[in-house]
Symmetry: C3
Subunit: 450 residues, 3 copies
């Protein structure tokens, strides 16, 4: 076993080769955009005499970017530390694959979303988009958590980032869809991609590691750090790349109300489905976030706080019920072993968010949006606006996303099944000791543990 | 006992009923304000030709809002995880009652602070104000921590938020008081409200849970996460709703210096009052924050860094001395069981802050503030400014706040005493197991704990 | 021993005396600057009619300041909690000496960087600079962690802050060097200063505390909180005091790419240097950050993402190799006991950053920077720009910094060697119990630990 899972050559080689490729591609393809280039920004400023430094996109987007960044590295990373013996891997592999994915995503998204004379232009908006794509990979990571080697995760990221960019291109560019917070592109895609991957990697004897596939008291508290950061910064996530002004402001606020309502639903149903009325940390850690997922598409629209709270309440409810009743069925009947329950946090709420987005689009009118219609909907030009058509394209976008995720996950899953990546044996899943040096010398166990 | 504290019906019913009421009220009463409404913002922009997207209040306030949000959910939540067996409840119930309170506060504050044609207008400023009001509830939570069921906490929040909004209306609107960082409205009110509630809920036999009413090594480290976040973001808290420009900038800086000075006082007196000169984590976790509380009123004024540092030093000193000498007396003589010592962190420093604010107001003059006088003091119009009168109104505001808190806490305390909320028995206070599923399967205790 | 290390009088006296001196000096020397003063800001606004509140430096700098603040207090504080029995001291003493240093730094930097009619003007930029200087002290703290009393640390801070300000003055004002992110002023200076101090304080019998000089499972997870926050916010750190507009934007982005690349290098070499291919938490916690250090000088220049990624990769590589092969040699041959391995995280990457900065300066041309040249390089005026000369001055700056750090560390080390500060005995290094009240009453060890 030690031989089979040894990372000594596999992991370094893969990391180094990938980074060298990234560096070469960045060297040949990537350029500063007008807001980050010394020459362009200052030339632009002097010519127009209307562009001030405070109009640099940095000041509109960077605070949002940092919040998103915290969600990706602290939020996802610590949320997955709930496992009693997999904390190092949760936060560590999250760190590794995120650091890789954001670089790879910059290239893939730049390639699909419009090259400028053969070059990819980068700035804070591309950084946010890269972090978003990374989020999708980390969602899938949640499904296979504890059952995959870091080499497998990097390989998964290569494929998932690429397909994410293709799907995003189809949705945003071809279909003209709205999806600022990524209910479809990030959550639905990441969730169903990951679920299919874990289905292909099904382990009939995973029971052998059952004793490690659970939390302990302190690991649940570490996970709450992740949960709370995701919850707090979700308004920034959904609003990070909307248009400036009212859309960004409105999106953040709608998300705030959706999450607050979702939290009450989560506590309510968590206690209700337990015979003794006790709360389950798994629900609180996860389902309370579903409200952010479910307004990822409609959040920038005139959903109103009222609408946001209804959506949040529904999302929290279906998420808790999913953890309680659906996850066991998925595992026993469909052989989908979903470690973190991403189907409940990202899958169903993502689909709900897509549907809410389609309905809200189909109800959008100049009477409500005024001159702001075009600032929310790219095709909202006066006289040309067709709400039903927009709603229809939103619905098609969901179908495309599901199709891409299922097919992409299937192919990627079979690639990951090859016995060359040092996957952990059934007896040693959810175990840090396989990949990390764990030689502790606790000189005084009694004091050090308390 | 299991029967008496069972939350299965009580908690879900209360959460669902409250959220449904909130949703209905939001649906009938709440509207986007001009900065979040697609039609209004863009109409406004086009007409005046002087309003740019970068002037949307989102860009002035949202970074501050996020810092405040972190203080409410991570700061307060983790600060209270210091108890060895109450981490889930500390961070979890903090999460629940904050999510409820911010929604309820939006309505109550909107109602009292000015309806617009029968509607409450919301945007980032109302979000900050709602979080502020929530902070007050969480302060009171600190007094009753470990001795109340989540149902009791929600009921307390209903009343406290309402009274907070009334008191805030009296202070800010009727008396024209300055209190940007809430030394009075948030800290003094929350502290004395909570202290009276815990007095009414006095448990003569709380000793039976004494063994759980203390920290262990790791729980103290989790609590330090809360402390440090509160400390770092307090400058954002105090400056979040001041006027744009110099007041916001100055408030943040004054708070920064007050806290730094307070921290040195805290370490000094913590070592000094210990016979062996050892530092006490309780002091560091709490008293070091008193400097933020104590400049909550005067921070936006021309207090100067010098003045801020003196105030911070005093606040840290009285806070440590309070923990050491006053808290035991409050419990033994006045039967006030104050779990987190909120009297030392929010009560006395809040009163100090109110006094400092009154004095600083009474000393404010056009000579020092120039054209900025009116931007700090609403009644600072040229020729009409009366510093003594302003100082007097500030002092009256403190008295009103104390009165509201004491009466409100008394009434709320008796309501919470009804034996219908599933309060924990004296033998099971400070115990997560009562409300949370705690079935841990630590397969290898030795490794999992170290 | 209890006598010798007793802090009861020493620590309170020192803290109180220092704070009183600070308050007096602030009272006589410190004034609001034009952006924080009510009179000046509003006079300025009314006269020019071109200065709007959104041009107050608060809105350009405060979000960056808060990120830097998080790095100083959470980042450094929790990074050092990796020791199994020194968590309270790590985060607590970090808190204490940072709170002192930022006040002292405000004075020292204000004194050296230009008084205004005998007064020091303060605002958000001086707050960032004070936090930067504090960072340097915390780096040195990493070298002596576990082997020094809080009194020693405060004394070290007094001297180090002063010398930091002198060195910074020489570099930025006299030599006109660029060093926005402080590869030289912060990292190189802090690292070599600390290494010399720990050399002077060499303990031949430190082996007696060897059993405590290591991590346990949960302490490593706490440390990862520090690591991840440092990693995420490093782009804000390096860009916090660059010029507005493209330089700030570009610096953040270059740092982001450098860190991502560095992370892959860190994982690669951590697995490669381990006989079983297992990852080492020490490397991940530290070396992954070296990419931020190494672009601290060149980050604001037109380094390009490509260049940043190469620098990051090199930094991660030398940092891991340093931990593995150099640190043991430094200890055994040079008698440098470097608890946190600051030579690998701040020393070598800092020097690398200085060299990269010198080279990038020497290659800077108007052709690439256009009108932006002068906004990056103060002496980049049209017709006067001499790239080679600039590169030369950058190189001289590194030499000056190393000299100042070595001499300053030597003198400070001998001062700290005096037997009056209550330093821990060799048998009780890395032990919280010496300075903190640790009377835990874990009523149910089994449950409380899991």
């Amino acid at each position: 076993m030690a031989e089979a899972t040894n990372m000594r050559l596999r992991l370094p080689l893969l990391c180094i080769i990938l980074e060298v490729i990234l560096i070469i591609l960045f060297g040949t393809l990537v350029e500063y955009n007008v807001d980050t280039d010394a020459k362009l920004w200052n030339a632009n400023k002097n010519q127009s005499a209307t562009r001030h430094d405070y109009e640099n996109e940095f000041y509109y987007r960077y605070p949002s970017f940092q919040d998103v960044h915290v969600m990706i590295f602290v939020g996802f990373g610590f949320l997955m530390t709930f496992l009693q013996r997999y904390g190092f891997s949760s936060v560590g592999f999250n760190f590794l694959i995120a650091a890789f994915s954001l670089q790879w995503a910059t290239l893939m998204q730049g390639f699909f979303h419009g090259m400028h004379h053969g070059k990819i232009h980068v700035g804070v908006t591309s950084m946010i988009n890269a972090d978003f794509c990374t989020g999708s990979v980390l969602i899938s990571f949640g499904a296979v958590l504890g059952k995959t080697s870091p080499v497998q995760l990097l390989v998964m990221a290569i494929f998932e980032v690429t397909l994410f960019a293709v799907n995003e291109f189809i949705l945003l560019t071809i279909l003209g869809a709205n999806d600022a917070g990524g209910s479809m592109t990030i959550h639905t895609f990441g969730a169903y991609f990951g679920l299919v991957v874990t289905r292909v990697l099904y382990r009939p004897n995973l029971d052998k590691s059952k004793h490690r596939n659970s939390s302990v008291y302190h690991s649940d508290l570490f996970a709450m750090i992740g949960t709370i950061y995701l919850w707090m910064f979700w308004p920034s996530f959904n609003s990070a790349i909307t248009n400036y002004g009212d859309p960004q402001h409105r999106t953040a606020m709608n998300t705030y109300y959706s999450l607050a309502s979702c939290t009450l639903a989560t506590f309510a149903f968590s206690a209700l489905v337990n015979p003794e009325g006790k709360l389950d940390m798994v629900h609180i850690q996860n389902a309370a976030l579903a409200g952010g997922v479910a307004v990822g598409t409609a959040g920038e629209m005139m959903l109103t706080p009222f609408g946001s709270m209804i959506v949040g309440f529904l999302a929290g409810t279906i998420s808790v019920l999913g953890y309680k009743y659906l996850t066991p069925v998925l595992e026993s009947k469909l052989k989908i072993q979903d470690t973190c329950g991403i189907h409940n946090l990202h899958g169903m709420p993502g689909v709900l968010g897509a549907v809410v987005g389609a309905v809200t689009s189909a109800l959008a009118s100049p009477a409500v949006y005024g001159n702001g219609l075009q600032r929310v909907f790219a095709d909202g030009e006066p006289g040309e606006w067709n709400a039903q058509s927009r709603g229809g394209f939103q619905a098609i976008s969901l179908v495309v996303t599901l199709g891409m995720a299922l097919i992409g996950g299937l192919v990627t899953g079979f690639i990951l099944k090859l016995p060359i990546y040092g996957a952990p044996p059934d007896t040693h899943c959810f175990e840090d000791g396989l990949y990390w040096e764990l030689e502790f010398n606790a000189y005084n166990i009694k004091l050090s543990v308390i």
